[in-house]
Amino acid sequence: MFEYHRPTSVGDALAVLADVGADGKVLAGGQSLVPVLNMRLAAPGHLVDINRLAELAYVRTEPAGVRVGALARHAHVERDEQAYAAVPLLRRALICVAHPTIRNRGTTVGSIVHADPSGEAPAVLTLLDGEMELASVGGRRTVPAAEFFIAPLESSLRAGELAVSAYFPRPPARSGTAWREVSRRHGDYALCGVGVLITLDDDLRVAAARAAFISLGPTPVLVDLADAVAGRPFDAVDWGAAAALVRGQVEPEDDIHATAAYRRHLAGVLTARAGADAAREAAA
C-alpha cells in the first residue's frame, strides 16, 4: 500500500517529493515500476503520479539538440519527425525498447532515470554526451550523462528530485549514427546493444568515433574507438580492429541467457556492423 499523490503542477510535485524524500517514487510511464510493485519486490510509502504534468509532455527540437520532457512517451519521441531529423539515433534506439504498446506509456526520461543497464535511452544519452535536467524545491541542476549513471538501477537523482527533461545534443556535422542490438526475442532486453557515433573530417576520414554499449556493464559502457579507426577513410575502416579494441575494454557478465564471452564477442560484431552503417551515413 502506498499513499498516492497526483500533483497538477511541477511546483506541487516538487513540494510533495521534498516531503516524502526517499520513501517516495515518481510514477510516470510505470512500465518498469509497476511490475516491481505487482511482484511486491518494492514497497515505497508514497507514489507521486506525474501524469498530470502536461507541461512536461514535450519533444522540442532546438538548434543544438532535442529536449525531451519528463512525460514524453517513447512513442512520442520515436515518431517526432523533427527530432528524428536532428538526432536520428533516438528513433533507431527507441524502436528497440520492448513493444509499441509499452512505448505508448513508458517515458524516455523515466527510462533514463530507471538506469537499467540494458536500457537503450541511457546509452543514447551517454553516447551523445547528453544531460539531465533535475529539479527540486531547492532549484534546478544539470547532470551530464557521464555522471548520471551510478550502478544498475541507480542514477544520481537525489531523494526529492524530479527529472524534468533529458537533452540530446545534435551530433556534429558530417556525423553518422547507428544502433544495433541482439536480443533473445524481438523486444526483449538486449544481450548486447550498441550505439555508434562516427564523425568524419572534410576528407571523409574518421575524425572521431565512439560507441556506447548496453547490457555489458552496470551502466552504459562508453568506448572511444579512435585508436582503431581514426584517420581512416570512411569506407576503408578496419572494423576488425575496432571490434578487437572493444572486446578488450568491455567486461560483461554471465547470466542465464548468455555468457560473458558471447556478449563480449557480440560487442565486437555489433560495433563493426553499426560502425560501418554510421560511417556510411556520415559520408552521405
Binding site: F2, Y4, Q31, H99, T101, N104, R105
Partner: protein, 177 residues
C-alpha cells in the same frame, strides 16, 4: 487500517463511470471487478503477455501496468468495446472467427484491442507488417499464423473500400477511411 479510496472517472466503451478505488487497484482489476467487464484478462501482471491490453485514449496500453487512478479522465476501450454498434461482432472480432484466430481465447482480448488501434494507423498492412503488429502479445495456443491472417482479414472488413484498390507494398494507406 483501511485504504483511502480515490474517486476515479473513467469512460469505458463510451459509458462514463465514477469508481472509488484504492490507489493500488490496477486498471485491469478495476475494469474486471469494479465494472464487471471481464473480457480483459490477466496473464502475467508484469506487462509481457499483453492479454490485458486495452486502448487508453485510443492507444494500446497494458492495463496491468497502470493504476486505475492514473487513468482518471481517460477514455478506455476494452475488447467488449470493439463489438459492432448493434452488439454483434466488430470487424476485428469477426475476422478472428473467420480465420480461426483463437483457440482458448484467453489472449484474444489483447490482440483485438491492439489490432483495432493498429488498423486505424495502418489500414492495409502487408503480411510482414501484420505479424509485426501482433509481435508484442503472447499466444500459447495458435502459433500466431491464424492471428496474422485475422489481421489481414480484419483490414478487409474494416475498410472494404480501401481493400478494393490494394497498395502494392506496405506503409500507410492513402485510401479513403
Amino acid at each position: 487500517m483501511t485504504e483511502t479510496l480515490h474517486a476515479t472517472r473513467l469512460v469505458v466503451n463510451g459509458v462514463a463511470h465514477t469508481l472509488h478505488v484504492p490507489a493500488r487497484r490496477l486498471l485491469a482489476d478495476a475494469l474486471r471487478h469494479d465494472l464487471g467487464l471481464t473480457g480483459t484478462h490477466l496473464g502475467c501482471e508484469h506487462g509481457v503477455c499483453g492479454a490485458c491490453t486495452v486502448l487508453v485514449d485510443g492507444e494500446p496500453m497494458r492495463s496491468c501496468l497502470m493504476f486505475a487512478v492514473s487513468a482518471d479522465g481517460a477514455e478506455i476501450t476494452t475488447t467488449e468495446g470493439c463489438r459492432a454498434p448493434d452488439g454483434g461482432l466488430g470487424p476485428v472480432q469477426q475476422a478472428f472467427t473467420e480465420c480461426h484466430g483463437l483457440q482458448c481465447g484467453f489472449c484474444t482480448p489483447g490482440f483485438v484491442t491492439t489490432i483495432t488501434a493498429y488498423l486505424r494507423e495502418n489500414p492495409l498492412p502487408t503480411e510482414a507488417e501484420a505479424r509485426e503488429a501482433i509481435g508484442g502479445n503472447l499466444c500459447r495456443c495458435t502459433g500466431y499464423q491464424n492471428i496474422v491472417k485475422s489481421v489481414l482479414r480484419a483490414a478487409e472488413l474494416v475498410a472494404p473500400e480501401a481493400a478494393v484498390a490494394p497498395q502494392a507494398g506496405g506503409g500507410l494507406s492513402e485510401g479513403p477511411r
